[in-house]
Amino acid sequence: MNGRGLIHYALALLLAPLLLGVINRVKAAFAGRRGQPVLQPYYDLVKLLQKGAVYSRTTTWVFRAGPVVTLAALLAALALVPFAGQAGPLSFQGDVIVCVYLLGLARFFTVLAALDTGSAFEGMGASREVQFSALAEPALLVGLVVLGRQTSTASLGPMFAAVGPALWMTAGTTLALLAVAFFIVLLSENSRVPFDDPNTHLELTMIHEVMVLDHGGPDFGLILYGSALKLWIFSAFVAGLVVPYRCGNGWVDTAAAVGALLLTALVVGTVESCMARLRLLRVPHLLISATVAAVLAFLLMTR
């Protein structure tokens, strides 16, 4: 446990939905609209938590457990994620693997809950989600392994703490490739364009959204909050890699890291505004190219 890590954890819990708000505002600006309030995700969460939930008679406890387990797994994963060069509150040697598996656990229960409904849509979404995450996971894992090897540690905290201007000078290409791979994984895992369209209402085209169609009220609130945390986790990876700003003063570093995260949200929003979604058949191509970038970084490192 460490004090600053705890503060960062609290900050993440508080600010995660803000990233979604920023992305929405950026998209609105590109479309020539004012857009919803930046705090809209918070209003939505409050609204959803006040509602009642409706459960289909065909579902079992798995369906109800889905959102809870997913959120719990994401909360645990968040506690391992370093921020502003500072290790997460629960950081330990080897937490890289645990973090990736916690993300996997979250997905596993979302998928189970989706399959539990027995709906054709949700089964279709679950199949897509599992297929695409199977392709995204290698990119993330290989990337983290490269980073660990580069910084001689298997813990996320020291790993990202070691990333700085010095490392960029010596292993810039490797880090740049990793940043590309992580950013692609960020887009894919958080169901952003070009992989998925978080705004669509068309069930047949959805990947992630279609799996949670049957959840309502507080359950859906938990899911929304979970996806905000997930976005925070992946943005922290990307931002920690690309903007490793440290001046020594802890508060300034933290503020800079939050700024870097908002910048990531800005970039995500810009990407979403400038391109169309990929054809579903082409999604694996982009994910494999993320893995290729990570493997290339691996080769560069070992040469």
Partner: protein
Amino acid sequence: MSTPRTLRMGEAVPLAEIPRLDTAGFRARVTDVAWRLRLVALFGRPSYALTASEGRPSSSSVAAEGQSAVEPGAPVTLTAIFADDRNGQMQAFSTDVGASYPALTPDCPQANGFEREIAEQWGVRPEGHPWLKPLRYHRSAVPGRDAWGRAPGTAIEPSVTDFFRVEGEAVHEVAVGPVHAGVIEPGHFRFQCFGETVLHLEIALGYQHRGVEQALRHGDARRVMPYMETLAGDTTIGHATAYAQALESAAGARVSARAHALRAVALELERLANHTGDLGALAGDVAFLPTMSYCGRIRGDFLNMTALICGNRFGRGLVRPGGVRWDLDPARKDELLSRLAAAEADTKSAVELMFDSPSVLARFEETGTVSFDECESLGLVGPAARACGAERDVRQDFPGGMYRFQQIPVGTWSTGDVFGRAFVRWLEIQRSIAFIREVLQTLPEGDVLAPCGPLAPDSLVVSLVEGWRGEVAHVLITGAQGQREFYKIVDPSFHNWMGLAIAMRDQAISDFPICNKSFNLSYCGHDL
């Protein structure tokens, strides 16, 4: 065999001149022309309507029966109207049938929907029809006669039928609708999928069936115009103009050039609003935000231009038999022209942004392809047909009103995919804007509304209008006293729904929304 009676658009043909063939001769004629002509309409109606002088049921009995104005076991007259698009001519012929007749669809696939309609409406069974299922799920107008032998008491509910099913280990079925996630009309789509690939799509409609044709035959005359304007709400001008044209032709009424010009302006504005909206919606379906947002707004601009003419964004209350109800004064004309110029520039930048984006083109190209041959055999109409390379446009082939004096070049494309249907819309947007500008700048003087006069008795009129979705066909048959005896409506969607089903074969199921949007067919226009 008598020679076919050639008729022109908007010509009142005496019913006696339309050849009545025996069933075999009718079938032979259909088979003979089906490969080169396009089926505009094929419909049934009670036979007494034709035998005008020989013992028609008294008008009071027609009114009293209300729901089913047909005697049990009455023969039904089938009338086929084929169009020769290249020569701007049509031919019509008819036959009388009893409870069944040999189906035309095996030799004329264009007749598929029409024959199912006839079977459902009149209980006449087309024997050997390969796909004989209800179309709108209602009872036949002939008491006790049902093409599927359903007992009179059984409930008939939409999409309760045998769906085509593919069996297999990895084959799964996805059912979408009738309640959809967006604010759209109800319709049921049944996909047979192999993984992400669609093997077959079956579309079941009928949820929007209001019985409009029946209401037109027996209902209050004052409600006719509102019905016409809401046959398909987004084709208000198209259907209203087709109806007005039919009545004016039957009455031999002269409509002023100014009224014709204003109708054409309204029709093109309707096309502009819908095409722009469609392009924006297509962009939205592939998550290309800028074009989606801008086109959504520009669509409103075009609708507001229609409102500037008549006070209603959809043009309700504008077109009436005999002309239009609202004139355009010079101040509003100038206002319209300046708004048009602004909208033109906005549309151009929004649409070109989309067509310049490789990520959008990657989604549109080679998605939902309909071949030229499929287009011809299904008899597709409108932008969907022109995207397959079929140079088919009522404004060119059967021009009525203003289009006789001022031509619009037909825009076609050859790929038949989503891109083709989107690009043809863009071509039409540009040409419609130029057309409106030309018409407004040379707007003829004169009155805009004149009384229509009585209709010619015992006649048939085919009225065609190129609505934004394609050919709007109305057929009017008058009785011995010049009353509206029978009225048939064919919305372009009626021809094109099958095209969507064919376009989805071997496509990814996740591409269904953009295929669907690229056709953007009307549910209520089909269900009537």
